[in-house]
C-alpha cells in the first residue's frame, strides 16, 4: 500500500509524461515507428495522388468510362515507382562521400556499390513484398481495364 502523498506524486508525474504537447511534436512522434512508409496508401501523399490521377488520365485518354479502371492501374504503378525509389534511397546514402560504410581508399566505385548493396541486401529483399504486391495489383488492374475496353469496343 502506497501513501497518499506518493499516489498524488505518481499521478502528477504521469500527467507530465504523456508525450509531446505541441502539434509539431505530435506529428514527429507519430512517425516514430515509421520505416519506409510503403504500407501506406499513395493517396495519403498529395503529390503521389496527383501523379496517379495524371497517369490515369493519360491511360484512359478521353474516355470517362475507362477512367476508374485506369486509376487502378495508375495507383499500382505509382506505388511501384515509390517502392523502387525507396530501394534506391536505401542504397544511395552508403555511396555518399560522407558515408563511413566502406573503406573508401581501398575500393573502386563499383566495389563500393557491391559492398553497400551486399550490406543492405537483407532489407532490400524484405522490401520486395511491397513490389510484388504492387505488380500483382497492376496486373489485375490491366486485365480489368482491357475487359472494359473490349466491352466498349463490342458495343454496336
Amino acid at each position: 500500500m502506497i501513501t497518499l502523498r506518493k499516489l498524488q506524486a505518481n499521478r502528477k508525474n504521469a500527467r507530465a509524461s504523456t508525450g509531446p504537447k505541441s502539434a509539431a511534436g505530435k506529428a514527429r512522434s507519430a512517425r516514430n515507428s515509421r520505416r519506409h512508409g510503403l504500407a501506406m496508401p499513395i493517396w495519403s501523399d498529395c503529390s503521389l495522388g496527383a501523379d496517379a490521377k495524371a497517369l490515369a488520365h493519360e491511360i484512359a485518354g478521353t474516355s470517362a468510362e475507362l477512367l476508374a479502371f485506369a486509376l487502378r492501374i495508375a495507383e499500382a504503378q505509382i506505388d511501384l515507382v515509390r517502392v523502387r525509389r525507396a530501394r534506391r534511397d536505401m542504397i544511395e546514402p552508403g555511396l555518399s562521400p560522407y558515408s563511413s560504410y566502406v573503406p573508401r581508399k581501398r575500393t573502386s566505385p563499383p566495389e563500393e556499390l557491391a559492398l553497400v548493396l551486399s550490406d543492405v541486401a537483407p532489407q532490400l529483399e524484405a522490401m520486395d513484398r511491397y513490389e510484388r504486391r504492387a505488380i500483382s495489383r497492376r496486373k489485375a488492374a490491366i486485365r480489368a481495364f482491357e475487359a472494359a475496353l473490349r466491352r466498349i469496343a463490342s458495343r454496336p
Binding site: 491511360i59 542504397i91 575500393t107 557491391a114 559492398l115 548493396l117 551486399s118 463490342s154
Partner: protein
C-alpha cells in the same frame, strides 16, 4: 544509382523501346518495367562479380599465411600487403604470389573459390534477387505480348465494323465538271 553508367541505362532503354515500339500508355509502362528489371539484373550480376573481387584479397592473404617460403623478402612476408598489391595488378606481386602458390600447389581458381566461400551468404541472396528479377522481366514481356494481342483484336473489330457498314455508291461525276467532289 551513383557509380553506374547513366548513358548505358539510356542506351538500354532506347534499344528496348525501339524494338518493342509501345503503342499505348499501358505498353509504355510495361516496357519501362522490362528495362528496369533488366537493369537491376545487370546491376546485381556486376555486384556479385565485384563482391568476389573485394573478397579475393582477403582470400589470398589467408592462403599466403599458410604458405611458407624462405625466398621472399621480409617486406613481402606481410600477406595483406602482398595480396593488396596483387589485386591492384602489381607485376612484381603477381610473380611472387604465383611462386608462392605454385610452391604449395595452389592455383588462382582456389583463391577465387575461397573468395566465393567468404561471401557465400551475400552471393546466394543476390542470386535469389536476380532470379526474382528475371521472372518479373519475363512477365513484363509476356504482359506486353498479351496486351498487344488484345489490342490487335480492337483494330480488327474496327475493320470488321467498317466492312459491315452500309456504303452508298457515289457515282462518278462527269469529266471536266468543275467543283466535282
Amino acid at each position: 544509382v551513383p557509380g553506374e553508367d547513366a548513358s548505358a541505362n539510356e542506351h538500354l532503354r532506347a534499344i528496348v523501346t525501339n524494338t518493342v515500339k509501345p503503342i499505348d500508355c499501358v505498353e509504355a509502362i510495361l516496357t519501362r518495367d522490362f528495362v528496369d528489371e533488366e537493369w537491376e539484373i545487370l546491376r546485381y550480376r556486376r555486384v556479385t562479380a565485384n563482391l568476389i573481387k573485394t573478397a579475393k584479397a582477403k582470400a589470398l592473404a589467408d592462403a599466403l599465411r599458410q604458405v611458407t617460403c624462405q625466398d621472399i623478402s621480409v617486406d613481402d612476408r606481410a600477406p595483406e600487403e602482398l595480396a593488396s598489391r596483387w589485386t591492384k595488378g602489381d607485376q612484381d606481386a603477381i610473380e611472387k604470389v604465383r611462386t608462392l602458390l605454385d610452391s604449395s600447389e595452389l592455383t588462382e581458381d582456389a583463391i577465387i573459390a575461397q573468395a566465393v566461400s567468404l561471401k557465400l551468404d551475400d552471393i546466394e541472396r543476390l542470386d535469389r534477387m536476380v532470379m526474382t528479377k528475371e521472372v518479373r522481366r519475363d512477365n513484363a514481356l509476356h504482359e506486353i505480348e498479351r496486351h498487344r494481342a488484345n489490342f490487335g483484336a480492337r483494330p480488327r473489330r474496327a475493320a470488321e465494323q467498317v466492312e459491315e457498314a452500309d456504303f452508298c455508291v457515289i457515282e462518278e461525276s462527269p469529266a471536266g465538271e468543275k467543283g466535282a467532289a
